[in-house]
């Protein structure tokens, strides 16, 4: 067993060379201290911890493919006549950026594959980020001590959107150019400075001749540099603070249960990079994305119908579509609420709210404890409700971004769809919150029920005096540990206007608000039963059945006896982790 066996002197030349290298580096940097601590570092195992890996690996794919693309792409808006091998556009006037993208697509062997891999990887990058953020949010992984990492995550999400949008515009095709035109309109809607801001970004009037090279420098240097720096800090913090874990047998707030980095995670995580790379390469080879040769070169007086941005911009486009057409003129100046609110104010509020949420929750609940054990979403009903509410809000905006597609596909009036979505945007999120919260509380009740009385086995037993009972089985170790890991909610003392000595509490109003928020968050939570309650309830159940039924007559007898609680040891699984470590050491 690698974990317990002492390191053996190796005779392999590769290992000797490796050892020599390690010594060489160590004598200069002291790196062996790091290796000693970290080669055996334990990481907990759960499928959802893979989401962060997908983000990291798709980012690496983006960097690799992006670097390749810079070898051929020309960020220039100089007009040229296309003379490459794509016949339908031969002789057409276009920007050098678009022409070089066509060259990558049609005249560089493998160029299309890399371009499509780059785009697919970007979509996966943002999608995995969104799902990773859901996982972190709904399990409360952002709580103390990990608030900084949540902030970095929010910054990374905005950077990813910036990277996506700047890259999307670079081919200078008709579709992406239209997106850029919308950005110009959005910039112009910013009160006071908007017009000048737009002129600075575009180097004068739209579209000008500067914007592509400016976007290029942001896309290949500024934004990825920031992402790389933030990702590094993000991972260093995960390393230092150790990964959170889901509740389970043997898992506490003070330990990490899982597999060591060397060898299991080196193989699994290292292997998973190739899995992600492979899937992105397969998508790049098999699935067309952004066929810019169909859209044609950009010109500001043309547009294609049914224009759609990349998926992660869809919600902003939807917000623009659903907003009522408000505009006001104040003292001779125009404020375009119809553009400014959906494209600047709403995303600003959402991202700020997201960034501040951990601090708001910690203040409102008064929970200042360190949390290394993840919450089950049901055990924090208000948080889960807020999360679902935000997703519903986002989802409606996202659907709004495709209202013309929906109208076309289902032959509906765009007017009716827009109004339905406008009303839904206000009505549905609160409903989603309430429904989610009730579901969470229901699940909590069921958890308590299962702990006290076991789960319903589905087996009906007829007792000698004719009564029918359903056999309840006690939970197995794992389920029990998961339910028992529910943390006690923080309870705040009811604030008083004056203390015992009659001194007025200056912060009474604030304290009372906080007390109310705490009650709002956790007031309805179902308390976890104590060990004594569980013992009593299970004893009661099995005691009744045992007294009234001659157990040896029934094949269920064995199961009923086991209802006395305690750890199950099925004949088929005789070993605990520890026992197995001792008995098997040679299967490698």
């Amino acid at each position: 067993m690698s974990i317990t066996a002492p390191a053996q002197a190796s005779t392999s030349p590769v290992e000797k060379a490796g050892g020599a290298t390690a010594t060489f580096v160590d004598s200069r940097l002291g790196s062996n201290r790091f290796l000693a601590r970290n080669l055996g570092k334990v990481f907990p195992d759960h499928w959802s911890f893979m989401l962060g890996e997908i983000i990291l690996y798709s980012f690496i794919v983006i960097l690799l493919t992006g670097t390749y693309l810079t070898l051929f792409y020309k960020p220039s808006m100089v007009e040229v006549i296309y003379n490459g091998s794509y016949v339908p556009l031969k002789g057409v006037q276009m920007s050098e950026a678009y022409a070089s993208t066509l060259d990558i697509t049609f005249d560089v062997r493998g160029g299309l594959l890399i371009r499509q891999m780059h785009h697919w990887a970007a979509l996966i990058f943002v999608a995995a980020m969104a799902v990773h953020a859901f996982r972190v949010f709904f399990t409360g992984a952002y709580r103390k001590p990990r608030e900084f990492n949540w902030l970095i995550g929010v910054a990374l999400l905005t950077m990813a959107l910036a990277a996506g949008f700047t890259g999307y515009s670079l081919p200078d095709d008709l579709l992406s150019g239209t997106g850029l035109q919308i950005i110009r309109g959005i910039l112009q809607s910013i009160p006071v400075v908007g017009t000048w801001a737009a002129f600075f970004v575009f180097g004068g009037e739209y579209p000008g001749t500067d914007v592509i090279s400016r976007l290029y420098s942001a896309h290949i240097l500024l934004v990825p540099g920031l992402i790389l720096a933030l990702v590094t800090v993000h991972l260093m913090m995960v390393w230092t603070q150790k990964h959170t874990q889901f509740p389970g047998p043997g898992r506490t707030n003070d330990n990490v249960v899982g597999y060591p980095l060397m060898p299991v995670y080196m193989a699994k995580a290292g292997g998973f990079f190739f899995v992600v790379f492979g899937i992105i390469a397969l998508m790049g080879g098999l699935a067309t994305i952004n066929p810019i040769w169909i859209f044609g070169p950009y010109t500001p007086d043309q547009v294609t119908a049914g224009t759609q941005p990349d998926w992660y911009i869809g919600w902003l486009d939807g917000a623009l579509r659903l907003m009522p057409n408000w505009e006001s003129v104040l003292l001779g100046f125009t404020i375009s609420w119809n553009v400014f609110i959906p494209s600047v104010v709403i995303p600003g509020i959402l991202f700020t709210g997201m960034a501040l949420y951990p601090f708001i929750e910690a203040w409102a609940t008064g929970d200042k404890r360190e949390h290394n054990l993840l919450d089950r979403p049901r055990n924090a009903p208000v948080r889960t409700g807020i999360g679902v509410m935000a997703i519903v809000f986002y989802g409606i905006l996202w659907i709004g971004g495709g209202n013309d597609i929906i109208a076309g596909a289902f032959n509906l009036s765009i007017n009716a769809i827009s109004w339905t979505l406008r009303i839904s945007l206000i009505v549905l999120p609160p409903i989603a919150f309430i429904v989610t919260k009730r579901i969470c509380l229901g699940l909590q009740r069921r958890d308590r029920e299962k702990l006290l009385h076991g789960y319903e086995s589905g087996r009906i037993l007829r007792l000698p005096h004719g009564e029918f009972v359903e056999v309840h089985e006690p939970l197995n170790v794992k389920d029990k540990a998961v339910i028992m890991a529910k943390v006690d909610v923080p309870v705040l003392a009811l604030p008083q206007k004056e203390d015992e000595d009659g001194v007025r509490n200056k912060w009474y109003r604030v304290d009372r608000l906080r007390w109310r928020l705490n009650r709002f968050f956790y007031g309805e939570n179902i308390p976890r039963p104590s060990d004594a309650e569980i013992e009593a309830a299970q004893h009661h159940v099995s005691h009744d059945a045992a007294l009234e039924a001659p157990l040896h007559d029934y094949e269920d007898a064995d199961q009923i006896r086991r209802g006395h609680g305690g750890v199950l040891h099925h004949p088929g699984m005789p070993q605990t982790n520890a026992e197995q470590l001792q008995t098997s050491g040679d299967h490698r």
């Binding site: 974990i3 055996g40 091998s85 493998g110 499509q116 035109q181 309109g185 006071v192 908007g194 017009t195 000048w196 002129f199 600075f200 004068g204 009037e205 579209p207 000008g208 001749t209 500067d210 150790k242 330990n255 249960v257 597999y259 060898p263 193989a267 292997g271 990079f273 190739f274 790379f277 492979g278 397969l282 080879g285 098999l286 067309t288 500001p300 007086d301 547009v303 119908a305 049914g306 224009t307 623009l320 579509r321 057409n325 375009s336 119809n338 553009v339 013309d404 765009i414 007017n415 827009s418 170790v477 028992m484 040891h569 099925h570 070993q575 605990t576 520890a578 197995q580 098997s584 299967h587």
Partner: protein, 348 residues
């Protein structure tokens, strides 16, 4: 967690590597743990995946060299696709995937699957370290005399406050405006159109006669000067502002216009640039005279001064007054009377 025994209570001594197995979790040995044959089979599976990956990478090189870049193949479901792209993607993707799958299979079947436990350390530093840090800070503060030398402190703060200014000023010439340059709102408020400017089609640059446009028809058009200006300025700026559409309707159907007699025999000229965020518009429904923006579905009624009838746009579509010159070709009677395209702060 009282019912979950801590590993040390069960007599398993902590492993020297800083972690120990979690006791008391029921754990079923895998087939590869108990059956050497199964373990060897797993070994062969992993190796097979690695070999396959090697072959696929060789196939990648072969495809790169041998396949004609222009060749297309028909593949059911995918349709007609570039042969080289699909071959390169399949070989590279499947090969990389197999390396990953092999490594994961190796980890799952042959490496230990016994969970181990490692203790966490709470994040706050111990009080001694905190005290030492505070003492170090205090020493540094006193030695520097930052509190004592008021003059130094204040001038330093002043200098630091001004330091970013040169860097921000450098950004000023992202859009250079030599003296006499028009301001953004002046630029946004003028287009190439002027009295006598001929209207030409935007694809072939042919002048247009009234008779060329049937009732119910729509023509995308541009000023005759456009090509010249574009060549001189080397940009598409003029095109983005001057684009118009011409629609013709029965004069009795025109309920209102933005100016008296701005049409010519029922031919109306409107800006093509949406007043919402600037998408070019050409979706025209001749029965209702509605013009629909494909980006955000703002709808304008061209028979009624181009007013907004639906969608997020707040302003009507600007109309261009037109007439005909002595040769009978359509021409503009003036520039637009209001700025075209999206609203902006200085516009009123």
């Amino acid at each position: 967690m009282s019912d979950l025994a801590h590993p040390t209570e069960h007599g398993t001594s902590p492993a020297p590597l800083g972690h120990s197995p979690v006791a008391d979790i029921p754990h079923r040995p895998r087939v590869t743990d108990t059956d050497p044959k199964a373990a060897r089979r797993a070994e062969r599976q992993v190796a097979f995946m690695f070999v396959l990956a090697m072959l696929l990478f060789i196939a990648f090189v072969a495809s790169f060299v041998l396949i004609d870049p222009q060749a297309v193949v028909y593949i059911p479901v995918f349709g007609t696709v570039g042969a080289m792209n699909i071959a390169l993607g399949a070989c590279l993707g499947a090969g990389a995937f197999l390396i990953g799958a092999g490594a994961i299979q190796w980890a799952k079947k042959l490496m230990p699957d016994v969970e181990v436990v490692q203790e966490r350390h709470t994040m706050p530093s111990d009080p001694a370290a905190t005290a030492e840090a505070a003492a170090n800070y205090a020493r540094g503060r006193d030695e520097s005399g930052f509190a004592r030398y008021k003059l130094i402190r204040r001038t330093l703060i002043g200098a630091m406050a001004l330091f970013p200014i040169p860097i921000i000023v450098l950004l000023r010439d992202l859009w250079p405006t030599p003296p006499g340059s028009p301001s953004p709102d002046q630029i946004l408020s003028t287009t190439l159109w002027k009295k006598g400017e001929r209207i030409v089609t935007d694809a072939t640059y042919q002048p247009i006669r009234a008779a060329d446009i049937p009732v119910g028809g729509l023509v995308s058009a541009a000023p005759a000067d456009l090509m010249e200006v574009q060549e001189a300025e080397h940009n598409l700026n003029a095109r983005g502002k001057a684009a118009i559409i011409l629609v013709r309707m029965d004069p009795t159907e025109i309920r209102s216009q933005q100016g008296d007699g701005w049409d010519y025999q029922g031919i109306l000229a409107y800006s093509k640039i949406c007043t919402h965020v600037g998408c070019p518009i050409a979706l025209y429904e001749r029965r209702t005279h509605h013009l629909l923006c494909p980006c955000h579905q703002s709808t304008f009624d061209l028979a009624d001064s181009g007013h907004v009838v639906f969608g997020p746009a707040a302003r009507r579509m600007p109309q261009l007054p037109i007439g005909v010159d002595e040769e009978g070709f359509l021409m503009a009677m003036s520039d637009f009377q209001e700025p075209i395209g999206p609203s902006f702060w200085e516009r009123s």
